[in-house]
Amino acid sequence: MSELAIDVQHVVKRYADHVAVRDLSLQVPRGTVYGLLGPNGAGKTTTIRMILNIIAPDEGSIRVLGRPSNDASASDQIGYLPEERGLYKKMKVRAVLQFLGVLRGMTRDAADKQIDYWLDRLSLRTPDKDWGTAKVDELSRGMQQKVQFIGTLLHDPDLVILDEPFSGLDPINAQALKDTVVELRKRGKTVIFSTHLMDNAERLCDYVCIIARGAKVLDGAVSVVKAQHGGKHIALALSGEVRTGVTAVLSDTTLVTHVDDQNQFFELELARDATPQRLLERLVAAGAPITRFELVQPSLHQIFLQTVGAEGVEEGMSGQG
């Protein structure tokens, strides 16, 4: 049993007019929650599709659960929720789920038991109403998302891959999804999800990999990544109006290289040679009404902006989570 759930080595995928993924390597340890972060068009979905053997890489190798990714037997241990969701509209919910279960190597009976469990758990089956007997297109969008989610987890996969799972979810379903991810992790499953929402990634992930324009920018355990970029970030809160003297201090690039106005407080990044003590001195001297001055670890959001840079933002990234 390999220690790695997924081992991607030097993978390249080219399309007619562009390179979607260039020399990407990443390792996902078993039993972790792994976030694949990047702006839209960074190559997240292409990478996921290659891991799932939906498309083949032009170069490099991918091993999934210790087996080559093109080994068909691996697919029965994988659950996949694609970014673009959809089900057979005219089929009954239970029939769709049975079909998806059998495609993942379950017997019809085993699938039926799991369907019962999940319909109850996600309250798609109550004493009043059994949505399992309804057709998919009779369900609300939120309910369809639940059904799709059941289809992903029905066969109790060891590896769960979720592509942009939070997009289009209402807050209740989003919370249910987070709870489920945590529960899967507790049961020793490996979860990979791609997102451009840094907040979710920060709260859920053990490991992250940030990719932009098809190439890896950084990866590693979230704590390590933060430590590497830490020690230089300060949360600053002021009461009342910001005076011009304070603004001058914050604009001094020998002290502060980056200011992110978060409304409730500022997230500051110190210049390389500056110290927190020096900044505090200058702020006090400028008469700033400080209510909070704290050395913080950078948010993934900050790290993301810092590493991917402005170009990533221009490519349509929305990092606000």
Partner: protein
């Protein structure tokens, strides 16, 4: 394991389609339609015969010989012993002087217009010489009626001339009684068939060709819509993460093919059942054979079974499977190439040209199943599935031609499936612009 997944795909494709209202309605209406096409002409023909038998006629006899009386006897007396209820015909003979024909005719014309009679016939000198007679009436276009009248006239004129030549009257009757019917037979290696079974064969072969043609279009479209649905609802991505696109394609084509086969079996069985109910009804309608002159008898479709052998049924099945496989794969590739129904219909146009041009050959081949056009069309892979079974139902086809058709079709099916599977694999997850031919070629190369 792969087999279990393939089976799951086939099962879904089959069950989801046979449970639709469209399928059930199709199964119910199909036999009604087929029975209508097969039995309505027979029903109408039989009704005409009955009407003809009940027709009324004025005979203007200006020959001065009693030819009119003879004609009446010939028309009203069946060859065999007259049965009850036969002579509903009302025939009135008006003996006229040759110079009063015009007056008699205008009188008769009034009767026709007043609908007291259906028509009148004028007999004169020339009729007696065996040259001509004239008929005018409301039914001048009813071919069966006219043939019957013509034959009766010839017979009566002959009898009259024999009588004028002083031949013994009893001899005249027995000699002039002629009900000659031309019975044609179809000679094949399997033996001979009657004229009726030849017509049944023609009808059967035509029906089979039409059914094959319909199923290529119908079930091809079904495959296309299925592929398009998976693509537009994005289900395809989940499914191909569990099974290979090739398995999905195979399952879809086989599943829809099974739907087609099931529907056609239901149609055929139901049509035969309806036929067994309707045929005795038609038989009861038909007058006893003796009452109809030969020409009439030939016009009435007889309820005769086509001489179909198990061997030819197997060949038809083989052509159905190969032809369906060919066109279904093409349709699947088209479905994977496009993003909407509208685009699909556009991209499908070249495929439809192939199918429809095969159907255009059906009629010429039925008329002339052995000429070069028919032989080439029956061996060309894209028309063979429709034209070859048609030809085989009509004439004995040389074994080598059948072999060329089947082997060529098999080769085409393999080639098309190979190309279609590659286009399908790439196209299934491609959205946006429809690919150009160059891009298609790249899809085929890269996958």
């Amino acid at each position: 394991m792969v087999r279990a997944k393939l089976w799951a795909v086939i099962r879904r494709e089959f069950l989801e389609r046979v449970q639709t209202r469209a399928f059930v309605i199709g199964c119910l209406l199909g036999p009604v339609f087929i029975a209508g096409v097969l039995f309505l002409p027979a029903y109408l023909a039989l009704r005409n015969v009955r009407v003809a038998a009940a027709s009324s006629l004025i005979v203007i006899d200006a020959t001065g010989t009693g030819l009119g009386e003879r004609l009446r006897t010939t028309l009203t007396t069946p060859a065999s012993a007259p049965t009850a209820s036969t002579s509903a015909s009302h025939i009135e003979v008006r003996v006229t002087a040759p110079n009063e024909i015009a007056a008699a005719e205008s009188l008769a014309t009034k009767a026709v217009i007043a609908k007291t009679v259906d028509g009148y016939v004028v007999l004169d000198e020339r009729t007696l010489r065996g040259q001509r007679a004239r008929y005018a009436g409301r039914k001048a276009t009813a071919v069966g009626d006219m043939r019957r009248l013509e034959q009766a006239l010839r017979q009566s004129a002959l009898a009259q001339r024999l009588a004028t030549a002083n031949v013994n009257p009893s001899l005249v009757d027995s000699l002039s009684q002629s009900r000659l019917v031309l019975e044609s037979e179809r000679l094949t290696e399997q033996g001979r068939g009657s004229d009726a079974s030849r017509r049944a064969n023609l009808m059967f072969a035509g029906a089979v060709a039409f059914l094959l043609y319909m199923s290529m279009i119908l079930y091809g479209q079904m495959v296309l819509r299925g592929v398009l649905e998976e693509k537009t609802t994005r289900v395809a991505e989940v499914v191909v993460s569990s099974v290979s696109p090739d398995t999905l394609l195979a399952g879809k084509v086989i599943g829809v093919g099974a739907v087609g086969l099931a529907q056609q079996i239901i149609w055929i069985v139901a049509t035969l059942y309806l036929g067994s109910l309707l045929a005795p009804m038609l038989m009861r309608m038909a007058p006893p054979p003796g009452q109809m002159a030969g020409a009439d008898a030939a016009n009435v479709p007889t309820m005769s079974m086509p001489d179909v052998h198990v061997g030819s049924l197997l060949v038809i099945l083989a052509f159905f499977i190969l032809g369906y496989g060919l066109y279904a794969s093409i349709h699947a590739a088209v479905g994977a190439m496009v993003n909407s129904d509208q685009e699909a219909q556009q991209a499908l146009a070249p495929v439809m040209v192939l199918i429809v041009s095969s159907a255009i050959f059906i009629q010429p081949v039925m008329l002339n199943p052995s000429n070069t056009v028919a032989r080439v069309a029956s061996m060309f892979p894209f028309s063979a599935p429709i034209i070859m079974p048609l030809r085989m139902g009509l004439v004995p086809v040389p074994a080598w031609e059948l072999a060329v058709a089947i082997l060529g079709l098999m080769a085409a099916v393999v080639a098309v499936i190979f190309l279609a599977a590659r286009i399908y694999r790439v196209g299934l997850l491609m959205y946006g612009k429809r690919p150009s031919l160059g891009e298609l070629a790249r899809w085929v190369r890269q996958s």
